[in-house]
């Protein structure tokens, strides 16, 4: 097992801030935009982004929801363990809004496909964008590309990208794990 830290400490924080400023360029004061974190691991990033946006725009009202995609996945009955659902919390209307989907790692793109389906149960947004902290390039199985990227990583399929969060794992970092 070999661990390579790709992002941590101050650089991690700067990356989050940069993502927020990029969001603000397109969404101004977020009056017509909402952000949705994808369960289970995207919710930490969406919370962080939402907190950071509130720091930068103290007067803005940031609407942050969490979206569970379990029932929309395309690998139901294909794995050994059943897919265990998480909760969804969307206390606002997404009809006509600009939605920013947020997840920690983008790999095959299948989660995002499911997330788009899951999201449509809550209305028809005006526009949907995708923000990820880590983009594992050249490994997509569906035609899906992110709009905002924290870092780009070139990896092979046997490697894993693990994102840890202060809230859940004591430390902010992105690690590339290789098994050999």
């Amino acid at each position: 097992m070999q661990n390579l830290t790709l992002l941590s400490g101050k650089k991690f924080q700067i990356t989050l801030e940069r993502l927020c400023h990029q969001l603000i360029e397109n969404h101004n004061d977020f009056s017509n935009s909402v952000i949705l974190g994808i369960q289970p691991r995207g919710i930490y990033l969406s919370q962080r982004i939402s907190d950071e946006l509130k720091n930068i725009l103290p007067s803005a009202k940031i609407q942050n929801g969490i979206l569970d995609i379990t029932f929309y996945r395309d690998d139901f009955r294909r794995g050994d363990n059943p897919l265990v659902p998480n909760s969804t919390q969307i206390d606002f209307i997404i009809e006509g809004k600009k939605v920013v989907l947020i997840d920690d790692v983008l790999w095959t793109g299948r989660t995002i496909r499911a997330a788009m389906d899951a999201m449509l149960a809550f209305g028809r947004p005006e526009k949907v964008e995708l923000l990820v902290l880590v983009d594992r390039r050249y490994s997509r199985q569906l035609p899906i590309e992110p709009d905002y990227i924290g870092i780009k990583v070139d990896s092979i399929s046997s490697q894993k990208v693990v994102v840890s969060w202060k809230e859940a794992d004591k430390e902010d970092k992105v690690v590339l794990v290789s098994e050999n």
Binding site: T70, Y72, F76, R77, P82, V84, S87, T88, A121, F122
Partner: protein, 312 residues
């Protein structure tokens, strides 16, 4: 991620008897997420889109049948319905033949209600599909017990440590047995109450208290589950008259108000208003009868989802 188990220990849902505490907790927890789903503007998820389910009812049903069908449709399963009264069963076809014929049309799961106890277990030994028992005679009605437990948990926050009394025709009730097993596995105390003739002789061996006085039972409990008198299963007279039964064991507002605490009133339906429960009690705010029906869909979605998600 939850701390509970990730999958059911059983391939079928034949009775609460075969489930362990972790299974029940997993079902109730999964039902929570489905309760969210059925309260959304779009109440449907595509999980079971490649699954076909046959609802085979050899006995009448309103709630259970509708509830299962809604649960299946909200999970996007394909559904075929079969009622014995309008089928070839009346021409002499056996249970296994009937079901095998249905299965050769590529059905993955069978939801069955049958008047004979053990019909589900029998079927599970002879055919290659997942079976969900929707009531077998006076034996078990597992999804009803699960939704009752879910409703108690929703109302009181917890099932463990609560005192539940099951009142009425325990002898002919599948709801009673499944409820006793389910509530005990979750750590509740259970009492049965009714006329001696309607309480099975050896029910004490299940570890439940037996009480023949309704007022005493109600004073003891946190939750009263009122059962219907199943006249259609009573081949002899078990009590002199319905009027007398309702005077001795019927729950009315006067009794409810005389208790020193607010108990929760449940009923598995169908209600015989004025017999086991009066209208003002059934429609009071202490009654969670309609919540039970709503939760029924969520719990059945959870059961179907968890069973279907086992690898084919």
């Amino acid at each position: 991620m939850s701390e509970t188990a990730q999958k059911l220990s059983s391939k079928h849902l034949l009775g609460i008897k075969d489930l362990n505490k972790k299974d029940i907790e997993l079902i109730l927890e999964t039902a929570n997420t489905f309760k969210d789903v059925i309260n959304r503007p779009i109440k449907k998820v595509p999980s079971l889109r490649d699954i076909t389910i046959a609802n085979i009812f050899f006995e009448n049903s309103t709630r259970t049948k509708l509830s299962f069908e809604l649960a299946q449709k909200r999970l996007s399963a394909d559904v075929v319905n079969f009622a014995a009264s309008s089928s070839s069963v009346s021409k002499g076809e056996t249970l296994i033949d009937t079901v095998n014929n249905i299965l050769s049309m590529k059905v993955d799961m069978v939801v069955m209600r049958h008047p004979y106890p053990g019909a589900g277990v029998f079927l599970s030994k002879h055919i290659n599909a997942q079976i969900v028992n929707a009531g077998d005679g006076a034996h078990e009605h597992p999804t009803q017990a699960l939704l009752d437990a879910y409703s108690i948990k929703e109302k009181l926050g917890e099932v463990a440590g609560k005192k539940v009394v099951i009142v009425g025709d325990v002898l002919h009730s599948r709801v009673a047995l499944s409820n006793i097993l389910c509530l005990q596995k979750l750590g509740a105390e259970v009492m049965v109450c009714g006329p001696t003739t309607l309480i099975p002789k050896y029910i004490g061996t299940l570890g439940v208290k037996v009480e023949h006085n309704l007022i005493k039972a109600l004073n003891w409990c946190d939750v009263a589950n009122m059962l219907r008198i199943q006249l259609e299963r009573q081949d002899i007279k078990y009590f002199p008259s319905l009027r007398e039964y309702s005077m001795m064991y019927g729950l009315n507002k006067k009794i409810l108000n005389s208790l020193d605490k607010e108990i929760v009133v449940m009923h598995p339906g169908p209600i015989n208003r004025g017999v086991e429960i009066t209208s003002d009690v059934a429609d009071s705010k202490q009654s969670i009868i309609l919540n039970q029906v709503e939760n029924g869909v969520a719990v059945r979605m959870a059961v179907l989802y968890l069973l279907a998600s086992q690898k084919a």
